[in-house]
């Protein structure tokens, strides 16, 4: 199999995944665009898997260093991204919840 032929399959996946992404994401309402962005943001933290592979094959100091920094960056991206997206989404409610007011809201009420 030539080099180019071997590439055809991954390119097929890539193109289909982009189309699939367009299809799914174009249905997301504007209200949710910030959580969408931070959620998509955590998905690109998948590069963590790449970080694990380069850590596994590391055999010299520079490779260890690169792998370590990649792991730290990737993990911060994944964990932080999902947690902050969840934090935002739990605030989206259909009906107001009366008793629970944030610290800022309380001070606003005091002023008024």
């Amino acid at each position: 199999m030539s080099e180019l032929t071997a590439l055809l399959f991954p390119i097929t996946i890539f193109v289909l995944a982009i189309l699939c992404g367009f299809e799914v994401i174009s249905k997301v309402p504007a209200t949710l665009h910030t959580p969408l962005m931070s959620g998509a943001n955590s998905i690109h933290g998948i590069v963590l898997v790449g970080g694990m592979f380069i850590a596994a094959s590391a055999d010299e100091p520079i490779a260890y260093l690169l792998a370590f920094v990649a792991m730290v960056f990737g993990a911060a991206n994944v964990v932080g991204g999902y947690v902050v997206t969840d934090r935002m989404l739990q605030m989206f409610r259909k009906k107001p919840v009366a008793p629970k007011v944030g610290p800022d809201g309380a001070s606003g009420a005091a002023k008024a």
């Binding site: 890539f14 504007a30 792991m71 993990a75 999902y82 969840d86 008024a112």
Partner: protein, 479 residues
Amino acid sequence: MSYENVYPFVYLAWLAGAACFVLGLHYMNSPATARNGNRLSAAGMAIAVGSTAILLLVQGISVGAWAIIIVGFLIGGAVGLWTARTVPMTAMPQLVSVFNAVGGGAAALVAIDDFLAHGTAGGANVSTTLFVVLGVVIGSVTFSGSLIASGKLQGVIRGKPIIFPGSRLLTIAMGLVALFGTFGLVFTATGTVVLDPLVADLVLLAIIGSALVFGVTMVLPIGGADMPVVISLLNAFPGTAAAMAGFAIDNPVLIIAGALVGASGGILTKLMADAMNRSILNIMIGGFGGGESAVAATGGGAGGSVRAIGADDAAIQLAYAQLVIIVPGYGLAVAQAQHACRELGELLEERGVDVEYAIHPVAGRMPGHMNVLLAEANVPYPMLKEMDEVNPDFDRADVVLVVGANDVTNPAARRPGNPVSGMPILDVDHAKSIIVIKRSMGRGYAGIDNELYTNPKTGMLFADAKEGLAQLTTAVKAL
């Protein structure tokens, strides 16, 4: 169990993870299911990472490698968790920008390592080299560009376009270095050019350096209010970089996930640019609001007189209206007035007034930012209306309350020949009466006078957003 036996199952697990990402994004199509969608996506991530760990376990990697993986994950995860828990909602654009930076950075590092491991001395093939170098370039540009964007949003770096003599030339030069470096390395892989491995490493170093500088000089000239577009664009980049890394290490989940994120960033970039009626290229070239193009085009029109209104008069209008539409803008977020806004809205609803919130696509500093701020303040999402949905409602609105929004309400956008021409706006001027809470007659980002303020139907309540809303709430209560 051998590596060969386990690999197909791990591959299927990666595919399952990728499927979770797609379904998770699908559930984002409604606020009611979005939270479960995000959790599904997180579960997919856990499956992908967990199955990779199993593969490495079977493969039998060194203790040192495990230490790096585990310690790196714990440190990064802890930092990410702490930041995500503590960041205020107003700072969300900066945070997303920082996550873009680290994601792009990680992708670049994976690609750099892959390059160093395979080298160019016959070990790597052409396609791998191409994707590795593309991953390095895109990842590095994202890293430095996103950090600058984040600094601008946080106010550490001046928000106005920063242009120094020769900055555009520098950007172009850096782009050329990265481009020719990439060609050089790919031709080395084909055998057309023969490079000493050490020279090849130096070429890669030059590519990394120029890509980092390119990221900085690309974002510096872009003005603060164009940030929604820039963040969206910088969100697409690390996805693409992850996909490139996926091509290089032949991993399907990286390719699929990267493609999904690239599509997401691409769509949002287009939506934001359309909402400002500017091309992406125009924004990237920068300089809008810097002064040169802005002032000239105002012309006459805006010379009318301004009518100031007191909180008591405004409160009477609001309290006895049937339909009130509130138009929140970035000024509301800056003043942290979302809670005061919700309070006034609730008070009016208790009096039997219908209240709606009209959200322009670029309200806030990133796509959908204003919705998150109002959701945080406990405003139910069915009350938040998008521009196309709410525009017909202005005709029957008794009062529109504009809080901290400016250019997106300027009727001048309907006429050609000025900086906001053609920009989709909220039809605030169609309402029977308009109240604008604003500190002064200062201009918006586009640098022109807002004709809405001189409209005879408009009353200006001169106050800080939070202060003005509190005054109105007190006055309505006193009725």
